[in-house]
Structure formats: structure tokens, C-alpha cells
């Protein structure tokens, strides 16, 4: 089980801020494919990965990164702080 978090318009499209996902996905990209296969709202949120960023256990990472040992995955658009 892995905690998956969504922020900004990713959260709005998927409809929840976080959820627990039972997955054996090896990489972030695999997890994205699993989610997209679930429901259209995931398809809509993950339509263009170039518009998304991912953090693993609160560190910025990449879509081809391994999920081994990861407890928390967060998806969000490019940040707009400051």
C-alpha cells in the first residue's frame, strides 16, 4: 500500500486530495498507467505527463524512478510559489 497525494488541478481532476493505492508497480510511470486504467478522471489528470511533476517521499523525482521502499507519491503541476 502506498499513499498517493494530488495537488492543485491534479487534485481537482481526480476529485480527492489523497488515497491509498494497493499496487505492485515498479516505477512511477507504471503506477500512472495503473491509475489511468482505472477511471476516466485519472486519464484526464495524467493525459500529459510533461505538465506534471512527481515527488517521492517529499523529494522531487522523475516518472521513471523506482517505487521500491517509497511510502508516499505526490503528483502536481509545476510549482508556482513565491
Amino acid at each position: 500500500m502506498i499513499d498517493v497525494l494530488y495537488f492543485a488541478w491534479v487534485r481537482e481532476r481526480i476529485g480527492v486530495p489523497r488515497e491509498q493505492v494497493d499496487t505492485t508497480a515498479a516505477t512511477v510511470a507504471d503506477l500512472v498507467e495503473e491509475l489511468k486504467a482505472r477511471e476516466p478522471r485519472y486519464e484526464a489528470a495524467f493525459a500529459d505527463l510533461r505538465a506534471l511533476r512527481v515527488a517521492l517521499d517529499q523529494e522531487l523525482s522523475d516518472f521513471d524512478a523506482s517505487l521500491a521502499g517509497v511510502r508516499e507519491v505526490a503528483f502536481f503541476p509545476p510549482m508556482t510559489g513565491g
Binding site: 495537488f7 515527488a55 505526490a74 509545476p78 510549482m79 510559489g81 513565491g82
Partner: protein, 146 residues
């Protein structure tokens, strides 16, 4: 180093004075304050979302890197989240150094990285609707100069 991620308002002038008071050995103090601006006159509010588990950690990483690159006596970062009205302060950074060039460079570095690497997202609520602020290419490009 002080990093505060908070919902509440803050007083930039009071923060600047408190910061300066702790760094009496440093001759140069630079501050940046970001204010919600209403460019087209139709802004009702700015909603700022963040990633609580990651925000302070990400900002501390940015501030650590600034302290590694420049000679700094101290660094302050305050960043708000929640719903802000036009004219409210969003965030501020302050840097103190013996050298004005270091204080300026570190403050600009902090701002560039906070813009694009700290997990905040802004939504503009106007009279005509609401929309997420898109990251600008020039903000990403600004990182390449460091």
C-alpha cells in the same frame, strides 16, 4: 535560519526589524516581499495550496544551498498559504551578510527557487471565474543562471 510556512498574516516591517536585530555583525540586509497584485482589476482572491509534508523541507534545502554558496549571517523565509485578498502579503525572504553582493545574490536565488521548486500552487479567483496560475517558462529559465 528561520523558515515559517503559515496561514496567518505577517508584518514585513516587524519581521525585517526582528531579523536585522539578530544579525548585528552583518552590514547588509536585503528583503523581498511578495504581495498579491491585482493586475487587471478583477482579482477577488488568491488561493495558495501547498504540500505540508514537503514544504518546509524543500525551503530548508533551498536555504541551505544559498548558505553554502554565499557568505550569509542569516536567512529568513516566510510563506503563507490559504485564501488571500489583493494587497495582502504572500511571502517574504530576508538575507544578511557582511557583503551587499552576497545578500542580494542569495535573496534572488531564494526567490528563483521558491518560485519553481517549493511546493506551492496559486489559484486566481476573479469575478469571471477561477484558474490555476501556470508556471512561466521564464521562471524555470531563471534557475539556469545559478
Amino acid at each position: 535560519m528561520e523558515i515559517r510556512v503559515q496561514e496567518d498574516r505577517f508584518d514585513p516591517g516587524a519581521e525585517l526589524n526582528a531579523f536585522s536585530a539578530t544579525v548585528s555583525g552583518a552590514g547588509a540586509v536585503v528583503s523581498f516581499t511578495g504581495v498579491v497584485r491585482d493586475v487587471d482589476g478583477g482579482l477577488v482572491a488568491m488561493e495558495i495550496e501547498h504540500y505540508p509534508g514537503m514544504t518546509t523541507k524543500a525551503i530548508a534545502g533551498i536555504a541551505d544551498e544559498a548558505a553554502r554558496r554565499w557568505s550569509l549571517a542569516d536567512v529568513l523565509v516566510i510563506h503563507r498559504y490559504s485564501r488571500l485578498a489583493p494587497g495582502e502579503n504572500i511571502m517574504m525572504v530576508a538575507t544578511a551578510s557582511r557583503h551587499r553582493a552576497d545578500a542580494f545574490a542569495a535573496a534572488e536565488y531564494l526567490m528563483d527557487y521558491l518560485k519553481s521548486r517549493a511546493p506551492f500552487w496559486k489559484k486566481e479567483v476573479t469575478r469571471d471565474g477561477a484558474g490555476w496560475v501556470a508556471a512561466r517558462d521564464e521562471d524555470e529559465d531563471a534557475l539556469t543562471r545559478w
